[in-house]
């Protein structure tokens, strides 16, 4: 542990290195290369909304538009930022690959391939499982550091749920709500923590020096519209399930409010109109859930990619801090709105 003057010197040195990297990044970045005529460090990134397949290779080939003669073994041109000796054959074979204009063909609506987003969702799920199972494995009465971290996160989510739904309902709905929270959170953060893997590993064309990454191996699942949509559907079904379970068929009374009209009151027309509005708002939630998360994650992704393109190396630190916050906020919003809709569905009778 450096103390006093030594620590100060380390801090100063780190600061100087940061500034140097910032300047270097500016010079070799997109802006600097235009101004000073330097070689660009990174190729211009291509932004794709649809996820890209990473498995099986035939799907990769199809989506990236490689010919059928393309050798699958050569195709998997994996390279990390600091990898210095890929197979020599690869460097020679793809000399003309960079010039080809690859247009990316997304998967059809019913075509299946494991995409980079799905892979990253699985990685995130594994991390969540590891985190919690390791945290819950030892049941010491007096917890250690890791266990108390896991437990305090757990308790935090539980007390958040309790504040909206009350203790009993919060405990019963906890598994789904908490999993939504952690799934969104870890999926948003996984790209930030796996950044070398994310930014530099994948399929592409070109050799070692002019390698062009065309499909990342890992891409945050939130940027794939299917993942927010899946969560939104789960949230929707979960809310409706609890509404029906607590209120029975009476739950549907708020959507199909014919009661007053059948009793001959003209105000029943208004009730029917309100019921239709309720029904629409219930369904619109799916869309808003989906595009809120999708939009935030995609915007963050594009921001990270663009800042990296403009000023490589360290300028991204600020964006990373922002993105960590955005991930947390989105997780809280997704889980929190699910809780709020749950409480609306469950306590509707009281209105």
């Amino acid at each position: 542990m450096p103390s006093g003057a030594a620590a100060k010197r380390v801090m100063l040195l780190a600061g100087l290195v940061m500034v140097a990297l910032l300047i270097a990044g500016f010079v070799v970045g997109a802006i600097g290369s235009q101004m000073f005529g330097t070689t660009r460090f990174l190729a211009q990134p291509a932004i794709h909304l649809p996820p890209q397949p990473v498995f099986p290779f035939s799907a990769v080939k199809t989506s990236l538009g490689y010919g059928s003669d393309y050798d699958a073994k050569k195709e998997k041109a994996e390279a990390t930022a600091d990898s210095e000796h890929p197979p020599a054959a690869e460097a020679g074979d793809h000399g003309d690959g960079a010039e080809e204009e690859h247009h990316f063909t997304p998967l059809g609506v019913s075509e299946f391939a494991i995409t980079n987003t799905l892979l990253s969702a699985w990685v995130a799920s594994l991390v969540i499982i590891l985190f919690f199972v390791l945290g819950a494995r030892k049941k010491a009465m007096v917890p250690g550091r890791f266990q108390s971290l896991v437990e305090s996160i757990f308790e935090g989510v539980l007390s958040f749920g309790s504040s909206v739904l009350g203790r009993d309902m919060a405990r019963r709905t906890f598994p789904v709500v908490a999993t939504i929270f952690f799934f969104v959170l870890f999926n948003a953060w996984i790209a930030l923590f796996l950044v070398p893997l994310y930014q530099a590993v994948g399929f592409g064309s070109g050799g070692l020096w002019d390698f062009k990454l065309e499909a990342h191996l890992i891409r945050p699942a939130g940027t794939d519209v299917n993942m927010p949509l899946a969560l939104a559907l789960i949230s929707f079904v979960f809310v409706e399930y609890w509404g029906i379970r607590t209120l029975g068929l009476g739950y549907f009374r708020k959507f199909f409010a014919f009661g007053n009209l059948l009793r001959g009151r003209p105000s029943g027309l208004i009730d029917i109109f309100v019921g239709i509005l309720e029904l629409i708002s219930e369904l619109v939630r799916i869309v808003s859930f989906t595009f809120r998360l999708f939009g935030n994650m995609t915007a963050g992704e594009i921001l990270v990619v663009m800042i990296t393109f403009l000023v490589p190396f360290v300028a991204n630190i600020f964006v990373f801090g922002l993105e960590l916050l955005v991930g947390l906020i989105q997780a809280v919003i997704f889980a929190g709105l699910t809780l709020v809709f749950l409480s609306l569905a469950v306590h509707h009778e009281e209105h």
């Binding site: 909304l49 649809p50 996820p51 997304p106 998967l107 059809g108 609506v109 019913s110 075509e111 299946f112 995409t115 987003t117 799905l118 969702a121 699985w122 799920s125 969540i128 499982i129 919690f132 199972v133 945290g135 819950a136 049941k139 009465m141 896991v150 437990e151 757990f154 308790e155 405990r171 906890f174 598994p175 789904v176 908490a178 999993t179 952690f182 799934f183 699942a221 794939d224 519209v225 299917n226 993942m227 949509l229 899946a230 969560l231 559907l233 789960i234």
Partner: protein, 166 residues
């Protein structure tokens, strides 16, 4: 739709992933964590109530000890008072007895003195009477009735004595 990336199998894959994740987390994380938390809450509750009980016990035993101390103090005070009283009584009786003894002694001494004096006086009177008689015989040269004389002398002496005592 395709440009946005909507894809049915992927959607299903995410749904399945999520459901499996919920199942695994529920089985291996949420349930044990919840149980551990409840257990801990229970333990803390127990501990708190035990502490409360202990505090009450301590308070009551404190009161009991206080009571015993007071009792002991009172007892001690009582014993002390008793002892003081006893000693007082003892001193008084002793003093009374001593005074009585002293008085008796003095009385006896006085009686002795009286007796001695009486005896001495008697003796003196006797010898004085004889002496007076002898003296008178010698003075008046005649023998008087001895009996009459003695009576006369005794009378004189008694008069003298009563005069002196008065």
């Amino acid at each position: 739709m395709v440009e946005l990336g909507i894809n049915l199998p992927l959607l299903i894959a995410y749904l399945v992933t999520f459901v499996i994740l919920v199942a695994i987390l529920y089985q291996f994380a949420y349930k044990p964590l919840m149980a551990a938390m409840d257990q801990r809450t229970e333990r803390i509750q127990e501990g708190l109530s035990a502490a409360e009980r202990a505090r009450e016990d301590a308070a009551s035993s404190q009161a009991a000890i206080e009571e015993q101390l007071n009792e002991a103090r009172r007892e001690g005070q009582r014993l002390l008072d008793q002892a003081r009283e006893a000693s007082q009584r003892f001193r008084e009786t002793e003093m009374e007895r001593a005074r009585q003894e002293a008085e008796a002694f003095a009385e006896r001494a006085r009686a002795d003195i009286q007796r001695e004096r009486d005896a001495a006086l008697e003796e003196l009177r006797a010898s004085f009477g004889d002496l007076a008689i002898t003296a008178a015989e010698r003075v008046i040269r005649r023998s008087l009735d001895r009996q009459a004389h003695e009576e006369l002398i005794t009378q004189v002496l008694e008069e003298g004595e009563s005069l002196r005592r008065g």
